[in-house]
Amino acid sequence: MKIITCCKIVPDEQEIQVLPGKELDLTKASWKISQYDLNAIEAAKKLSAEIPSTLTALSIGNSNALEGSKIRKDILSRGPDELSLVIDDTHHFSDSLETAGAIATALKNSDGFDLVLCGTGSGDLYSQEVGVQIGALLGIPTVNNVTNIKVKGNALEVERTLEDEIEILEVSIPAVLSVSSDINVPSVPAMKEIMRAGKKPVHILDIALTDAASSVEQLSQLVPEQQERRMEIIEGDNEEAVESLYQFLRKEIL
């Protein structure tokens, strides 16, 4: 089976700085693989252990995110046999359709695939829509929040966990699945895999993405208003401290 896992390279949100005007400064943040995409890579790795598969990771983004060899090796150390990149500085990839459209274009230009796996959402924008929109754009079956995947002959049996029920679905291939973040616990790459990653092929795809305008215009992006809190902090867990806590609770709610 030919499996393509999509992974987004995002700024590490812990390293995002706040500018005086409440705007964000992303320039000092280092790049990392969007954490939810690690679940998709792991799911692909598990499938390839069950049936013979080729595993390609696909990432699309701006050059500052994708040029570094460290991030490329990081992706490849987690299981994919090869990495395909679409590097494009003319798009921001900041709305779900723009990103899905770019991925769909790359997939149409690929050597074919049976299964595309996405994480539940990206760590930065978390729209949770890119996988679904890729499927819809390509006109192939798509399922979100997948919690288990089994290969059954020429089709997949997919478990999808909703808020209050679980669906078991038969999905023909090719298909696009977005996996839930609790489908697995991504493994930490072993030293051997890290060493091997540097030797795996990286393909820079020369694909012209459409220059259609984004369907969304961003007006502002500001640090959220901090809720006013009283911040009455006391130290200690002795009788007296617990009594103060009890009195606070009593006053508030009891």
Binding site: A100, V132, A136, P141, L169, Q218, I233, G236, D237
Partner: protein, 308 residues
């Protein structure tokens, strides 16, 4: 009015009235799409929509109606599609978006008309920022976070028209079985009091003391993401945070929660936040009304005694 027409689509009966109420404040014409048979649609007649379409789901899934719904939306020159933020509705939203040539803004916390446009706000970068956006095309698709339109204070007349969705469902995926989910989570989104457990808890058995405290306070039990996802001590449906449940109780009592930005994004609508954590520098204290720097294993049993 900022848009002429809004299509409300829900897979949860209790979300319908709230979304239609919100939609009526934003648009003249509101069309609701519900999944089920005609009697179910008739029950929803006074939801606030002027037109109700229903799609029977005995032999297919709500997702199968996306093409048919998109066709209805395309009959008006511009429209906003508004859905509740469930997993199924996010699937419908994305598919509709692709058919209507638009991105989806998911889990929007605020929708307001400004200068003839509808401005949507949503949280990005793990809670670090709020992004304000507008759609630039003729159509837009939004999934709304819980309770963003406030309490319903209007009584609407019954819909003018209730009809089956004209288009036929298309089944791209076959439903093999539908199983009940075991250990469903508490309804944290609606809870008035919540005890919020973090990684400060050392063992799963210790949840008993948290449960006891919760029951004395008349509170539901929730947790931070690692407690549910890594430790698997509580159902995934019980984790609070940007990617989990967003809560807005009168009292949130956090125990051993450090207060990562994603978690704060899920609790910052709480009226009062009380925090106990032994790490004095834990960010939770900057977001607390009352904080106690101490060991939860000493504080909780003592507090249970006082509350009993």
């Amino acid at each position: 009015m900022a848009v002429q027409s809004i299509f409300v689509i829900t897979d949860k009966a209790d979300a319908l009235a709230e979304l239609c109420y919100g939609a009526r404040k934003l648009a003249d014409q509101v069309t609701a799409v519900v999944f089920g048979d005609r009697p179910a649609a008739e029950k929803a007649a006074a939801c606030g929509a002027q037109t109700i379409f229903y799609g029977p789901v005995e032999s297919c899934r709500p997702e199968d109606y996306c093409k048919a719904i998109a066709e209805e939306v395309r009959k008006v020159p511009s429209a906003l599609v508004l859905l509740n933020n469930s997993i199924r509705c996010r699937c419908i939203a994305g598919t509709l978006g692709a058919y209507l040539n638009t991105a989806v803004m998911t889990c929007v916390n605020e929708i307001s008309p400004e200068g003839g446009r509808i401005v949507c706000k949503r949280t990005v970068y793990g809670g670090s920022a709020v992004r304000s956006q507008v759609f630039t095309g003729a159509y837009g698709v939004v999934t709304a976070g819980n309770g963003i339109f406030g309490d319903i204070d209007t009584v609407f007349p019954a819909a003018d028209s209730i009809a089956e969705i004209p288009g036929k469902p298309e089944c791209a995926v076959r439903l093999v079985a539908r199983n009940e989910k075991k250990g469903g989570g508490a309804n944290l989104a609606a809870a008035k009091r919540i005890v919020d457990v973090g990684r400060g808890l050392a063992a799963q058995e210790d949840l008993d003391m948290c449960r006891q405290l919760a029951s004395l306070l008349g509170a539901e039990l929730g947790c931070s993401r690692p407690v549910a996802e890594n430790n698997k001590w509580m159902p995934i449906a019980n984790y609070i945070g940007l990617t989990g449940v967003t809560v807005k109780p009168d009292l949130l009592f956090s125990m051993g929660v450090s207060g990562q930005v994603q978690h704060i994004a899920g609790i910052n609508k709480s009226k009062v936040i009380v925090a106990v954590n032994k790490d004095k520098s834990a960010p939770i204290f900057k977001n607390a009304d009352f904080g106690l720097v101490g060991d939860i294993y000493k504080v909780i049993p003592e507090l249970i005694k006082k509350l009993s």
